[in-house]
Symmetry: C2
Subunit: 600 residues, 2 copies
Amino acid sequence: MADIRSPHAHRLSDLRAALAKQNLDGFIVPRADEHLGEYVPPSAERLKFLTGFTGSAGLAVVLMDRAAVFTDGRYVTQLALQTDASVWERRHIIDEPPPAWIAEHARPREKSGARIGYDPLLIGEEGLARYTEAGLDMVAVSENPLDQVWPERPAAPAAPAVPHGLQYAGKSALEKREEIATALRAAGQDAAVITDPASVNWLLNIRGGDVEFTPFALGFAVAKADAGVDLFMDPAKLSPETREWLGNGVTVAPRAALGPALGGMGGQVVRVDPAGSPVWFAQALRAAGAKVMAGTDPCSLPKACKNVVEQDGARAAHARDAVAVCRFLHFLHQQGPCGTETEMSAAARLLALRQEVEGFRGESFPAISGAGENGAIIHYRVSDESNRAIRPNEVYLIDSGAQYPDGTTDITRTVWTGPGPAPDDVRARVTRVLKGHIGIATLVFPQGVAGAHIDALARRALWQVGLDYDHGTGHGVGSFLSVHEGPVSISRAAKPVAIGAGMILSNEPGYYLPGAYGIRLENLLLVQRAELPGALKPFLRFETLTLAPFDRALIDAALLDPAERAWLDAYHARVLAEVGPKLPDATLEWLAGACAPLKE
Amino acid sequence: MADIRSPHAHRLSDLRAALAKQNLDGFIVPRADEHLGEYVPPSAERLKFLTGFTGSAGLAVVLMDRAAVFTDGRYVTQLALQTDASVWERRHIIDEPPPAWIAEHARPREKSGARIGYDPLLIGEEGLARYTEAGLDMVAVSENPLDQVWPERPAAPAAPAVPHGLQYAGKSALEKREEIATALRAAGQDAAVITDPASVNWLLNIRGGDVEFTPFALGFAVAKADAGVDLFMDPAKLSPETREWLGNGVTVAPRAALGPALGGMGGQVVRVDPAGSPVWFAQALRAAGAKVMAGTDPCSLPKACKNVVEQDGARAAHARDAVAVCRFLHFLHQQGPCGTETEMSAAARLLALRQEVEGFRGESFPAISGAGENGAIIHYRVSDESNRAIRPNEVYLIDSGAQYPDGTTDITRTVWTGPGPAPDDVRARVTRVLKGHIGIATLVFPQGVAGAHIDALARRALWQVGLDYDHGTGHGVGSFLSVHEGPVSISRAAKPVAIGAGMILSNEPGYYLPGAYGIRLENLLLVQRAELPGALKPFLRFETLTLAPFDRALIDAALLDPAERAWLDAYHARVLAEVGPKLPDATLEWLAGACAPLKE
C-alpha cells in the first residue's frame, strides 16, 4: 500500500523554505478561509493541503524544527488517521492552545523573540489577540508563504451568483440596504465592512454555489451610510441579469480591487466585526487613516429574524422535506430488522428521496449516519473506512438537512432497528432526551431571554440521573443559507443576544454512550410572538417546523408527564395530518401507526 | 405641620459654597460608604443627610444651578415623599443615568468642560468609568466637601470586634490566610486589598456590630503573599482578647494609617477588585508606584463555599429559627380571619418570637411585612405612614430573617388570612410560583452551571401564562454575615461564576399584581454534591435549609405534577418531623394539619 502521506512532508519542507525567505521563524495555518467561514472552497483548503487533515476545526503551527496540528475532542481520531505522526505532533486545541504551544517551543532569536507569521486574511482580530497576549511577536504576511509553495492550488470557485427572488426573500435588497444604512447613521458610521458571504448574499438578495452545502456566492461588501453597496466579487460570476437585479445602488468590482478600495476610505468611520472579520480589514483601514469601530455585522440580526415570506417559505420547505424524511423512516422501519442497509446506503437513500422533492438544491450539510457505536460520535461523517451495516436490534441516528430556495432544513431522528424491543435503559434515556426536546418546544418566555438562559430546560431530565450531552442544544438556521447561522444559539456559552421573533433555531438535545450508541432528537423551531391574554410585556414561543415522527419503539410513555404526552400526541397528529396526504398509500399506513397516540 | 425638608435645602447651598472653594462645578453623592456596602453606618449616610432620601439605592448630583436625586423603580414613590421637589429633581437611575444627565446639564467653563467632583472612597473603578466614558472631567477630591458642611456628622461606629469561634467558623484564620496567600502567589501578586468588611471578618474569624443587620466590624485589610494580614480598624474596637485571637500574623493599625500603608507598597503587585473596591485604592497604589492588577476579592469565593462546620451551623440555625417562624405562622392562622393585626404588629410579633430563640442576634434585614397591595411592593418597608391592618380574606406576604452565630436565615411566606377560601386565580398564581420554587429545589445540575443558566426554571410556569417577576430568583447568603452575599446569584444578570458545593442561595420566585397583592415563596438552599451512580462528571443538588409550611389555602393541588406534589408532601413531612417536637402542643397540632399531604 502506497504511503499517501508523504506529499505532506514534502510540502512542509517547502513551506519552511518559504518562511526562511520571509525572515519568519514560524507560521500558523488556520482552517478558515478569508471569510472565516464554516465551509471553505478547495482553493482555501490550506490545512488539508499541508497536513492531510480534513476536520472542520483545526489549525497547524509550523516552526522550523517542529510542527503540530491542533483540533478539538471531536476530531482526535480523525487527526491521528489523516496526519503523519513522524512530521506532525497532534495537540488538543482547548487543553493546549496554540499560542501557549508556540510560546513554549518557538526558538527565540539572539536579541528578540521568534517571528511568527500569520496571514491576516485568515484570522480575526479577537483570534489574533490570543497570540499577541501570549507575548508572541506576530508578523502579518502580505503574501501567504503556503500559497507560494502550492503550485497546483485550485482556482477560486466561480459559480454564478443568481437572483434570490422576492417570493423567497420577502424584502427587496433596496429596503434592506436602507435599513442597514439607517443603523450605520444612527451609530455615527460612514460604512461597514461585510465579510460574511451569508450577509452579503442576504443583503443583496443573491445566492450562489461557491462552496458545498451553503448556497452563497463568495464575496465581500462595503455597505455605506447612503445605502449604496460596493460588492467585491469576481465579475464573471455576475450575469447581466444578476447585475440588473443588483440595481444602481450596487457597484461591482473584482476581489483584487478590495485593498485599494479600503485604502481610499481614509477619514471615514468604518464598522468592522472584531470576531467575524479577518484582521486584515481593520489593519488596512487603519493604515489608510480610517477610524475603525468595532461592531457586529449589521446584517447579522436582521438576517436571523426571518420576515413573514421567509417564515412561510420555511414552513413550505419543511412540509416538502417531510415527505422525503417520512418515506425514509418508513423504509428504515422495513429494512431495519433485516440488516441489509449500511450507514452509507441509508444516507444515499435519504438523499435520493430528497432529490425527488420539488426545489431540492442539495444537502445543507454532510449527513451524519451513525449506527450503534458510530452514533455516539457527535460529528460522525461516514466514510468508506468507517461504513458499517445497520444491524437489527440497535440504535441508529441520522442527522441530515436540505437546501430549498424557500428554506433550509435540519432534522435528526434516532430509531430502533428492531425486530426485537429496545432495552428499557435505552428507552429511558431516549425518553429523557425527548423530555428535554419537549421542554424547549413548549417553552413560552419573555422578550429579552437569550439562549444561555434556556439551555438547562433541555437538559434537566438528563441531569436528574447524572447524564448530559457535550454540545449546545440549538443553533440558528439561515433561509436558503447556512444551516449554522448566528448570532443566537441555545447553549450555556451562547452570546448574550436575545432570542427574537422570526428566528429559526434548532432544538436538538441528545445523549451519547461512547462505544454503544448515540441519541439526538432534532426539530427546527420558528420563534413567534405569543399572544397571552393579560400579559404586561411581549412574550415569545416556538413553532415547530419539522414534521416527522419520533420512534415510539424508543419512548417509555410512563416517563412522560401528561403535558409531555399531550404535546407528543398532538405533534404526531399534526405530522400525520400535514404529511400523510402527500405520501404513497403504504407509507401513509405506516405513518398512521407511527403517529397514533401513545399507549401507556 | 413643620416643614421637615427645609434643612436639606440649607445643606445644599452649604455644599455648593464648599464646591466653589474646591474649584468644582458639580459633585456626586452616592449612597455607598467607603466599603461600597449595602448597609451603611449613620456616619456615612451622606445621601440621607443631603437630600432626606433613605432608599437603599440612590445617588445625588449637585450642580451649581440644579440638583437631582436618582433612584430605581422600587423607590420612586419614596423619593417623592422624602425629597423637596423645589430643590431636587427626581430621576430614574436606569432610564436617565447620572453621567448622561450631568453631560447634558453641567455648564462648561469658558475653555474647558465642567469639573465634576467625586469622593474616590465612595465609588468603584467600574462605576467611575461610566462618568469618564461619558466625556466628563471627573475630579477626585481629597476631602469630601459634603463632610465639610456636616458639622453634626455622627462619629464612625465603634462596636467591639469579637472572635468568631472555630465551632462556628470551622476553619482557623491562619488556614484561611494561608489559602489566600497561596492564591496570591499563584497569581504572581504580592498582596490584595480587601475592602469588603464581610471578607475581612471572614478571613480573620471576627464579627462585630458596626451596622444594622450584618454582624461585621467595619475595617480594611491588606492580605499578603506571606499569609500576613495588615488590618486597618479602630484599635478601640479590638479588646486584648480579640487581639490575641487575631494572632501574630495580623498587624492592627487605625483607619488613618491606611493611606500611608498603601503609599509604602511601591514596587509591589497588588490585587484590587475593580467592581467592589473604591477607586481610591487603585489610585493610591498607582501613585505609590505599585502595580495594580484587577482581580476579584480573593475571599469572595472561599467565603461563599461554606465548610462542613458552617453547613452544620446553617442547618442548626434554620432548625431553631423554624420554631419562631412556625409559631408565627400559627399565630397568623389564628389572627388572620379576625383582622386585628397590622403589618407592624405582625412583624413585631415575629421579632418577639425570634428573640426567644437561642442565639438570636438580630434581624438579618428589615422585615418586609406587606398586606394586600403593600405586598406587591417588592422592597416594601412598613412605616408608621404606610402601616395598615392585615384584613380578613386577603394575601399577606412576610419576608424576614435572623442572625445567629451559627448561621443567617432568610424566609418568605405568603398566606391567605381567611376565613373564606382564596380566589381561584390567586391560588393558581401562587401554585405557579410554587412550581418554580420546586423547579429550583429539585434541580440536579453539573458542576460549571451558573445562576444565569437556571433562573428560567423558576419562571417557566409563570411565563407559560404570560406572568413574570421583576427580581432575581436567588442570592447568596453569608454565614453569620450579610444576607446578600456574592459572587453567585440566580438571575439572568448573574455573574458567570459557577455554583459550587457549600454555597447557600435563596430560592425566591414571586409574582406581584400592583395594587392588589404580592406572592413570594422563599427558602434557603445549601449546594451539595449529588451522588449519582454512573455519572461521568460531578453533579450538584440543593438541600433545602428552611423549615416552614407553605400555606395550603393558596395551593391548587390539581396544578401540580405528581413529582411536584411528592416534593411538597415530603418537604412538609420533614418540617413536621424536625420542627414539630420543639413546638407547644397547640402549635404542633396546627402544624400537623398544615403539613398533612395535599388532597386533590
